[in-house]
C-alpha cells in the first residue's frame, strides 16, 4: 500500500528514455502484447462488473432507482456508513500522524513492534477482527457481563461497527506517511526550532504542509475502506434492519431477498464512491508530481 504514491511518479521520464532509444528498445510486438493483455484483463474484471452494477440498478428505470435509494432502511444504512466513516477517519488521521511521526522522527524501543502492529489489520482477515470484538465485548465475552450490567451495548450495535471500522482502516494513513516523513528527515524541523518556533508552530507551519498531499491521499483511501468494509462489520453488526446495517450489509440483505434492483441501486452508490475516490486520488497524484521537488537531497 505504502509507496504506491511515491513510485507512481518520476518513472515516466525514464521510460521515455528507453522507448526512444533504439539500442534499448524492446520489440514493438512485446509492448503491444503486454498492453493488450493488461487492458483486456482490467476490462473483463473491473469495467464489466462496474457496468453491470449500473445497468442492473437502472433496469427498472430512474423512478424505481430513486425509490430504492430513499427507502427508509436504505437511508438508515447510508447514515450509519457515513457516521462510521466520520468517526473512524478522523481518529485514524490523528493516530496515523502520531504513529508516523513517532516512527519516522524518533528512536525508541519497540519501534519495529509498532510498525508490525500497524500492518496487522492488512494481514488479518476482517472476519477475525470482527470475532475478536465479539469475544471481548459480546454477551459471553470478557467484558460482556460488566457491559450489560451498566447497560452499554457494543456488539450488535453502532459502537461495535465503529470499532470494527477503525480496526480495518488503521494502517492507511500511517503507512502513507511513514516513508514520506522518513524521506524528509528532521532538518527542516530543526531549522524551525532554532529559529524559535514552538512544537505546535513547527508542526503546523513546517511538518504538516510538507506532508499534506500524502496525508490527503491516505485519508481518501482510509475513507473508501471505511465505507466499503464488509467482513468485520458483518460479524459485529447483527444485521438489525434500519439500525445496524451499513451500506455493504444492506446490499447483501437486499440481494438475498431477490430484490436485485434495490440491491444494485445501493451498490451503485458504493461504486460511485469508488469512482470519486479514484478521481481525487488521480488529482492528488498529479499534484504530488508537480510539487516543488525535494531539495538538498544529498
Amino acid at each position: 500500500m505504502a509507496g504506491v504514491a511515491s513510485h507512481a511518479f518520476g518513472s515516466s521520464a525514464h521510460a521515455a528514455r528507453f522507448e526512444r532509444n533504439p539500442a534499448a528498445r524492446e520489440p514493438a510486438a512485446v509492448k503491444w502484447l503486454i498492453i493488450t493483455v493488461s487492458m483486456l484483463f482490467f476490462a473483463a474484471f473491473l469495467l464489466l462488473p462496474l457496468y453491470a452494477v449500473f445497468s442492473e440498478a437502472l433496469r427498472k428505470g430512474w423512478q424505481a432507482y430513486w425509490e430504492a435509494l430513499v427507502e427508509p432502511d436504505a437511508v438508515a444504512s447510508m447514515r450509519l456508513t457515513l457516521l462510521a466513516a466520520a468517526i473512524a477517519v478522523p481518529l485514524n488521521l490523528v493516530f496515523g500522524i502520531a504513529a508516523a511521526w513517532a516512527i519516522a522522527k524518533h528512536d525508541f524501543r519497540g519501534k519495529h513492534v509498532l510498525i508490525t502492529l500497524i500492518d496487522l489489520p492488512f494481514s488479518v482477515s476482517p472476519v477475525i477482527a470482527g470475532l475478536v470484538y465479539i469475544l471481548v465485548f459480546g454477551a459471553q465475552g470478557w467484558f460482556g457481563p460488566w457491559l450489560s450490567e451498566h447497560d452499554i451495548k457494543i456488539v450488535f450495535a453502532v459502537p461495535g461497527i465503529i470499532l470494527a471500522t477503525i480496526f480495518v482502516t488503521v494502517p492507511f494513513v500511517a503507512r502513507e506517511l511513514i516513508p514520506l516523513m522518513q524521506a524528509q528527515g528532521r532538518e527542516e524541523e530543526e531549522a524551525a526550532l532554532v529559529l524559535g518556533a514552538t512544537g505546535w508552530q513547527t508542526f503546523f507551519r513546517v511538518t504538516l504542509p510538507n506532508i499534506k498531499w500524502g496525508l490527503l491521499y491516505g485519508v481518501i483511501l482510509c475513507n473508501a475502506r471505511a465505507m466499503g468494509e464488509f467482513g468485520a462489520v458483518s460479524v459485529v453488526s447483527g444485521h438489525i434492519r434500519g439500525q445496524t446495517n451499513t451500506m455493504p450489509l444492506q446490499v447483501e440483505i437486499l440481494y438475498n431477498e431477490y430484490n436485485f434492483a434495490a440491491a444494485f441501486a445501493v451498490a451503485s452508490l458504493l461504486a460511485l464512491l469508488a469512482l470519486v475516490t479514484l478521481v481525487i486520488k488521480t488529482v492528488i497524484e498529479w499534484r504530488l508530481g508537480r510539487e516543488p521537488h525535494p531539495i538538498g537531497a544529498p
Binding site: 529559529l195 514552538t198 504542509p209 516543488p292 531539495i295 538538498g296
Partner: protein
C-alpha cells in the same frame, strides 16, 4: 556573545564523539572547527546550538551556563549543510519565518517586510523573493539559509559545513563573500569544515580536531607553519615523511643522512621528520655521497608556475620502494635541473620538523 565549552563528553554507544573538549570562542571572531569526518566537530556545533546534548561538561554563553537553556532561547543562528530551507515556502517566507513565529513582541507585517527585504539585499538575492527553494541553485540556497538565520538577530552564527555541498568555484566565491559579511556584522561565528584550505583562508582562528579531541588551536598561519602534532601536520597539507634516528645534528634515514639542525632530540632517538613538498630540494648528483635520501623520479607535472615532481624512494640496492615523495619546485628551478622521468636523484630538506616516533600512528 562569547562561548565557552568545558570538558564536553559525548558518546554514541561505544563511539566517543567528543572526549573532554574545552574551548573558548571570543566575541566577534570567526572560528573554524577543522577535522576529518567523524572527529566530532559537527557534534560539538550541534551541542553548542542545543540540537544535541553533552553527556557531561558545560556550555557557557556569555559566561552563563546554558546547558539546560532551550534551543529557542539560545539566540543562535544555525546554517545546515543541506540548507534545510522550508520547501513549501517562498524565499521571502523562509527568511520571514523566524520573525513570524515570535510569540511576544512579534514585529508588525510592515516591519517584517522591511527587515526581510533588507536581509535579502544583504545576501544580494532580493530579486528571488518570490521563488521557491527548488528553483534556486545551491549557492543561492545557502545564502538564503544564511539570511534566514540572521533574521532573528542571533548573537552567534553556527555553520555546519556550509559549503560542503557546493562545487569548487561557487565554494570559493561564497567563502570570500562570507568573510566580507563577517567583517561587516562581527557576529561570533563558528563553522565546521573538513577542508583545510577553507578553514585556513576564512577563519580568524582554527581549531583542529581529531577523534573527539582538540589537537591544536591557533591562527591560520600559526597552525599551518607550526603544527603541534603529527596529525595536524599531515592533515593541513601534503607531507613527506622520513623515519630514522637522530645522529648529531642530522637525521639518519637508512644509510643516508639529511643534515639539519636537530631540535630537542637526543642522539640516537627514533624520530619522524616531516617536510612540505615545497620544503624539499632535489640534488641531481646522487652517486658517491650519502647526503640526501635517494629517490627515482616517477612523474613530472610541469604546468603552471610551480612544478610538482613525484618520486619513489630507492633502497640500498637501488630498487624503488613503496614510499612516495612529492616535491614542489619553481618552474625555473625545474628547467635548471633538467630532470627526466626515471632519473635517480637525492632529496634534501632545509626545514624538517621532527616528532618522536611514538607519537605517530
Amino acid at each position: 556573545m562569547s562561548i565557552r565549552v568545558e570538558n564536553i563528553q559525548r558518546s554514541f554507544g561505544a563511539f566517543k564523539a567528543l572526549d573532554g573538549v574545552t574551548l573558548d570562542f571570543p566575541t566577534g571572531e570567526l572560528v573554524a572547527l577543522l577535522g576529518p569526518s567523524g572527529c566530532g566537530k559537527t557534534t560539538l556545533l550541534r551541542i553548542i546550538a542545543g540540537l544535541d546534548f553533552a553527556d557531561s561538561g558545560r556550555i557557557l554563553l556569555d559566561g552563563e551556563d546554558a546547558s539546560s537553556t532551550h534551543v529557542r532561547e539560545r539566540k543562535v543562528g544555525f546554517v545546515f549543510q543541506h540548507y534545510a530551507l522550508f520547501r513549501h515556502m517562498t524565499v521571502f517566507e523562509n527568511v520571514a519565518f523566524g520573525l513570524r513565529v515570535k510569540r511576544k513582541d512579534r514585529p508588525a507585517d510592515k516591519v517584517i517586510r522591511a527587515k526581510v527585504t533588507e536581509l535579502l539585499k544583504l545576501v544580494q538575492l532580493d530579486w528571488l523573493a518570490d521563488r521557491y527553494p527548488s528553483q534556486l541553485s545551491g549557492g543561492q540556497r545557502q545564502r538564503i539559509a544564511l539570511a534566514r538565520a540572521l533574521a532573528v538577530g542571533p548573537s552567534v552564527l553556527l555553520l555546519d559545513e556550509p559549503f560542503g555541498a557546493l562545487d569548487a568555484k561557487v565554494r570559493k566565491e561564497l567563502r570570500r563573500w562570507l568573510r566580507r559579511l563577517h567583517d561587516e556584522l562581527h557576529i561570533t561565528s563558528i563553522f565546521v569544515t573538513h577542508d583545510q584550505e577553507e578553514a585556513l583562508e576564512l577563519a580568524d582562528r582554527v581549531v583542529v580536531m581529531n577523534r573527539g579531541k582538540v589537537e591544536q588551536v591557533g591562527a591560520a598561519e600559526d597552525v599551518y607553519s607550526n603544527p603541534a602534532t603529527p596529525f595536524v601536520y599531515e592533515f593541513l597539507g601534503a607531507v613527506n615523511e622520513f623515519r630514522g634516528n637522530v645522529v648529531g645534528e642530522g637525521l639518519q634515514v637508512g644509510t643516508d643522512v639529511i643534515p639539519q639542525v636537530g631540535r630537542g632530540f637526543g642522539n640516537g632517538q627514533q624520530v619522524v621528520g616531516f617536510a612540505r613538498p615545497h620544503e624539499l630540494d632535489i640534488v641531481v648528483d646522487h652517486a658517491n655521497t650519502n647526503i640526501g635520501v635517494p629517490a627515482r623520479v616517477s612523474r613530472i607535472l610541469s604546468f603552471g608556475p610551480v612544478a610538482r615532481i613525484e618520486l619513489s624512494r630507492l633502497n640500498g640496492g637501488g630498487q624503488t620502494t613503496e614510499q612516495q615523495y612529492e616535491v614542489q619546485l619553481p618552474a625555473q628551478r625545474l628547467a635548471e635541473l633538467q630532470l627526466t622521468t626515471g632519473q635517480a636523484v637525492r632529496l634534501l630538506s632545509s626545514r624538517l620538523r621532527l616528532f618522536d616516533q611514538g607519537s605517530v600512528k
